[in-house]
């Protein structure tokens, strides 16, 4: 990819580049030569039916699919981090050591405290993970992912296990954190509203390829009541093959 310094036509710098990605389990091929690019600081949401390969793609980007057969090019920054669906905190470590697990250096604890304060958990450094609510645990997981200042944040249905109210609060928090740290984000989700509310671009994976690539242009704060929001929603649901009742 050639880039022109200062040129108007220069392509924006890419954080992620995936070309002709093939992944399969046994006889079943899940990804058929998938291509994907994510720009610096871009927030991309990935939708798809269950079993469509959303998580397979995310795990390929995270380098967690060593035992999976496949081919293709995956270029991701060295400094990327993953948020799992379960908070995946070490139960035998208190909150702060969990946050700074991947950090090195003498200022690790100070950075960990700052990250906890950012997710609204200042003062809970010495709590045990199982003393926290599900939403709080997921916020600790977010702090752990962002404390390394990643260039790429990979999130695999991070709010899937939370109740609806907590989820809305977490959306606000994630948007805020991403605006401040500007990582490129790939958010895997099955929730169309979540994708439209958060992402700059929504991708839909189908048949092992990116079937829909939809930029979302909505003024902030985004809301379900915006007519354009409903428009995106309808077209994405249609692409997913969902008929809404009462229409």
């Amino acid at each position: 990819m050639a880039t022109h310094a200062g040129g108007l036509t220069a392509a924006p710098p890419r954080t992620v580049r995936v070309e002709r990605l093939v992944r399969g389990f046994g006889d079943r091929t899940v990804l058929h030569g998938l291509d994907l690019e994510i720009a610096d600081g871009e927030f991309v949401a990935l939708l798809g039916r269950s079993g469509s390969g959303k998580s397979t793609l995310l795990r390929a980007l995270a380098g967690l699919d060593r035992d999976v057969a496949g081919s293709g090019t995956v270029l991701v920054p060295e400094n990327s981090s993953v948020v799992f669906q379960d908070a995946r905190l070490l139960p035998w470590q208190r909150v702060l050591p969990n946050v700074v697990l991947g950090l090195r250096g003498p200022d690790a604890d100070a950075r960990g405290r700052a990250a906890l304060a950012e997710v609204g958990l200042a003062g809970r450094e010495r709590a045990w993970p199982n003393e926290l609510s599900g939403g709080e645990q997921q916020r600790v997981a977010l702090a752990r992912s962002l404390v390394t200042e990643p260039e790429l944040l990979l999130a695999d249905e991070p709010f899937g296990a939370l109740d609806a109210l907590t989820r809305i609060r977490m959306h606000g928090l994630l948007r805020e954190l991403c605006a401040r740290h500007r990582p490129a984000v790939l958010l895997v989700t099955h929730d169309v509203d979540e994708a439209i509310a958060l992402a700059d671009r929504v991708l839909l994976i189908d048949g092992g390829r990116i079937a829909v690539d939809q930029s979302i242009e909505l003024p902030a704060p985004r809301s379900h009541r915006q007519p354009a929001f409903l428009g995106y929603r309808e077209s994405l649901l249609e692409a997913l093959g969902v008929q809404e009742a009462g229409r």
């Binding site: 967690l64 995946r88 070490l90 139960p91 470590q93 697990l101």
Partner: protein
């Protein structure tokens, strides 16, 4: 809307108690000093039996005879000296055995080759009692301290290895994935995920190991020994001193109980993050 009033207990025919409390399924609240109740009961039985003449003093000396004998043994210094020698042997064997057991468990738990090489021999050793190995160890190492500590070490190593290895293999693979996603260095992975994850297993192994150390001690001290509690007991057998034998047995019992209690204390403190049926 009506004002909420506390619901009256409803009585229906056929229901004996209106507000019966729900049956709890856990074992309930801990009893204070519960661990002492069983041994104290045993002691009471022994005392009553001796006092009523139901237990012959030639078969089993009365508790008060044992106490006075223990007093005499302490007065002439035999008890302390022998205990010191025994404790040193047990401690040495325990420390060496624990270190070797943990290292072997980590090697065998983290690498397939390690498992292939290490696991078989340890399982074979598991099937051979310490007593059966003593003749060979005497031929190899003589009848000195080396042989005694080696026997204890071998007895300790097995439970530490088995339970640590089991705990380590039981660590949730999701945590391994987390370590990979955070690109942890192997040393950090070992220290922060593997060892704490295997700690519950390791501590269970330690509970077996401390008892195994005292058991192995009995074996080695009653064979060709010139010091230690076992030797003291063996000598007493030759002179028919039941009371001295009982002092030795009680001492073994107390030592075993104390060391098990110490491990349980560590267990409770180190595993305070766990919520289990026992809490």
């Amino acid at each position: 809307m009506s004002v909420l009033t506390p619901a009256k207990p409803e009585t229906r025919p056929g229901m004996p108690e209106p507000a019966r409390r729900r049956r709890r399924l856990g074992p309930g609240r801990p009893i204070p000093f519960g661990a002492a109740i069983g041994p104290l009961l045993l002691l009471a039985l022994w005392t009553v039996g001796s006092a009523t003449g139901w237990i012959d003093s030639r078969t089993l000396s009365a508790p008060w005879t044992v106490v006075t004998t223990a007093g005499d043994l302490i007065a002439d210094g035999r008890l302390q000296d022998n205990l010191a020698v025994s404790a040193r042997r047990a401690a040495l064997g325990l420390v060496i055995g624990t270190v070797i057991g943990v290292v072997l468990a980590v090697v065998s738990g983290l690498s397939r080759w390690g498992e292939a090489v290490v696991d078989g021999p340890v399982q074979i050793k598991r099937g051979i009692p310490a007593l059966a190995l003593v003749p060979l160890l005497i031929l190899w190492l003589g009848i000195g301290e080396q042989m005694k500590v080696t026997t204890i070490t071998l007895g300790v190593l097995v439970p530490v290895y088995i339970h640590t290895h089991n705990g380590l293999r039981g660590i949730d693979s999701r945590y391994v994935e987390l370590g990979e996603s955070l690109r942890l260095r192997p040393s950090v992975f070992l220290r922060r995920i593997v060892l704490p994850g295997a700690l519950p297993g390791f501590l269970l192994g330690m509970r077996f190991a401390v008892v195994a150390a005292w058991l192995a001690l009995v074996v080695v001290e009653q064979i060709n020994s010139t010091s230690g509690i076992g030797y003291m007991m063996d000598l007493a057998r030759e002179y028919g001193q039941t009371d001295v034998i009982i002092v030795g047995l009680v001492l073994y019992g107390i030592l075993g109980l104390l060391s098990d209690g110490a491990v349980r204390l560590v267990q409770r403190r180190a595993l305070s993050w766990r919520r289990t049926l026992a809490d």
